[in-house]
């Protein structure tokens, strides 16, 4: 009876894990449901283990020959279409009498773009820079640009004679860009790209998978990169002390806002300053400088307004201070610290 019960319970957990995985890859998730998932997956090791197993299977599908076979069949089934780019969309608006000429022109484009080159240059120009947890790291790129990485941050750098491309892989980075009128300096992350020629700005992965771009000097163009090239990109220009947020899809959130540069860039001086900032934002920053990650397991305290100023070395004492000042408690676990709400203290 007990074995039967345990088996049924295990199957239920596996079913839940699978349902969560399928939900998370649906393309239509909500913050509320993601928060519910966080609570579920952190509830116990059984849940975490079940979800990990589902995720392993999901990942492995991409490594099977079945995936290639399916893709080849899909390509055959799909009606043939000529490659179109945004800049060539005018062709679709051409008058009927021009269609013959347009078709000929497109044929040439296809022929050229898919011409197998005789040689291929493998460039080793891409370099990854990563900062350790707990401290900032400053690097000077080959074009003279200075980059300061916040703790636990990483960028991929590709600088060549034609372009300067950076990809923010995680964390936050501040760029003091050397002016070069010939080569645009671009920083991309998710579906957002920042383009400049000589300026100073920060790009940061913020809460809820948002990207935050903050300009200190010069002008910066922020573009949302369209998926599959299916729509024209939208570009917003930022001036000094202006900030813009973009969601995971590149859509701009809440428009352009102003910010206090002393607060925003304080981390460059190993200082974190907050004035009525939600707890979850503070924790994102703190996690770049502590070896044991901190998670907020209770949604109701995510937006607890925090006002504080401290150095990286003072994080432990700040956490202790937060517990004393707010109705929250810290629970030390083996691999993480969990912040939860204390229900009997109104705030």
């Amino acid at each position: 009876m007990t074995d039967q019960h345990n088996e049924n319970q295990a199957n239920t957990v596996k079913d839940q894990a699978r349902e969560w995985l399928i939900y998370l890859y649906s393309g239509e998730t909500t913050q509320k449901k993601r928060d519910e998932f966080v609570i579920w997956v952190n509830k116990n090791d059984v849940n975490r283990q079940a979800f990990s197993q589902s995720y392993k299977v999901w990942q492995t599908i991409g490594a099977t020959d079945s995936s290639v076979e399916w893709l080849a069949q899909y390509a055959i089934r799909k009606p043939a279409s000529l490659p179109t780019k945004k800049s060539k969309s005018i062709l679709t608006k051409s008058a009927l009498w021009l269609s013959g000429i347009a078709a000929s022109a497109l044929f040439l484009v296809v022929n050229n773009s898919f011409q197998a080159p005789k040689t291929m240059k493998v460039t080793a120009s891409e370099i990854v820079f990563t900062s350790p947890i707990g401290e900032n790291k400053t690097v000077t790129l080959s074009d003279g640009t200075a980059v300061t990485l916040a703790g636990n941050s990483s960028i991929l750098v590709d600088i060549n004679q034609h372009e300067r491309r950076i990809s923010l892989r995680k964390g936050s980075a501040y760029f003091d860009v050397t002016h070069d009128s010939e080569r645009v300096f671009s920083v991309s992350a998710q579906h957002t790209e920042v383009r400049v020629r000589g300026t100073a700005f920060e790009v940061e992965y913020s809460t809820d998978n948002e990207l935050k771009i903050s300009v200190q000097r010069g002008l910066v163009d922020v573009a949302d990169l369209p998926e599959y090239g299916s729509k024209d990109e939208k570009v917003v220009q930022l001036h000094p002390n202006q900030q813009l947020r973009a969601d995971i899809h590149g859509a701009f959130v809440n428009g352009v806002t102003n910010f206090d540069p002393e607060t925003e860039f304080s981390w460059l001086n190993s200082l974190l300053i907050y004035d009525n900032i939600p707890l979850k934002n503070v924790i994102v920053d703190i996690n770049r400088y502590v070896t044991k990650p901190i998670i907020v397991s209770d949604e109701s305290i995510n937006h607890l307004p925090i006002t504080a100023s401290f150095t990286f070395d003072q994080i432990d004492s700040v956490l202790t201070g937060l517990v004393a000042a707010y109705p929250i408690k810290l629970t030390e676990e083996v691999n993480r610290t969990v912040i939860t709400k204390i229900n009997d203290k109104p705030y």
Partner: protein, 227 residues
């Protein structure tokens, strides 16, 4: 991504690491030459096919199919033992698929969210040991066999979501199937794969296969397959 399809006299030669003076032997030089020639041939034979396949399945970008194909061939060339891959073209296409999927917004969002919750350090995925590679090969083989047991509809929906990177709404729009049906079919397909995977694991007495910690998850697959 860098477009570097320029003419250079020696294809890939600049990328092949030179052996040290002490260790240089005729054998290694021959091996190096053979590797370069193999990759050169692969490139000439399959470049066009890979580009066409990517264009047909994922559109003109971004990322552009030519850029993705170049990246895939580059990664393949940088492998230590590309000559040991049974089907290099399929392998290169798998790399290209996963490069493309990394540019699809909702997939990035899901992957980053999940890896964050499971506390997987993606920077450590490059440190493979033979046991983990063996483990991933076993799992790939099992999942490969398992996909053959799915119905055509289940496999189509699974691959559209996992390989084509479509949202369920996009699948519904393409196929006419309802969202509820898509979720149900996907659930069934995944349950079949998971059950076979679990059965395989339990049948294997190898301790390494039984190691199912989050850390092993991060290292279970080569980086080319992460998406």
């Amino acid at each position: 991504m860098n477009k570097a399809l320029s003419n250079v006299p020696l294809f890939f030669n600049s990328d092949v690491k030179e052996p040290s003076a002490k260790s240089a032997t005729i054998h290694t030089l021959k091996t190096k030459s053979a590797k370069t020639q193999t990759i050169d041939t692969l490139f000439r034979d399959h470049w066009l096919d890979v580009c066409r396949l990517l264009h047909k399945c994922y559109g003109s970008g971004p990322p552009e199919p030519e850029d993705v194909a170049q990246e895939a061939f580059s990664r393949f060339a940088q492998m230590n033992n590309p000559e040991q891959i049974h089907d290099p073209k399929a392998y290169i296409i798998k790399i290209a698929i996963n490069i493309t999927l990394k540019s699809i917004g909702h997939l990035c969002k899901a992957r980053e969210f999940i890896t964050e919750q499971l506390q997987i350090d993606e920077d450590q995925v490059d440190t493979f040991c033979p046991e983990r590679i063996l483990q991933s090969e076993q799992r790939i083989h099992v999942i490969q066999k398992a996909t053959e047991q799915l119905t055509d509809k289940q496999r189509d929906i699974l691959m559209r979501a996992r390989i084509k990177g479509q949202t369920y709404a996009q699948i519904a729009a393409d196929t006419g199937w309802s969202l509820a049906d898509i979720c149900r079919q996907l659930n069934t397909a995944m349950s079949v794969l998971e059950a076979i995977d679990e059965e395989s694991s339990s049948n294997n007495n190898d301790k390494l296969v039984k190691n199912t910690s989050s850390n092993s998850l991060a290292s279970a697959l080569p980086d080319e397959y992460k998406s």
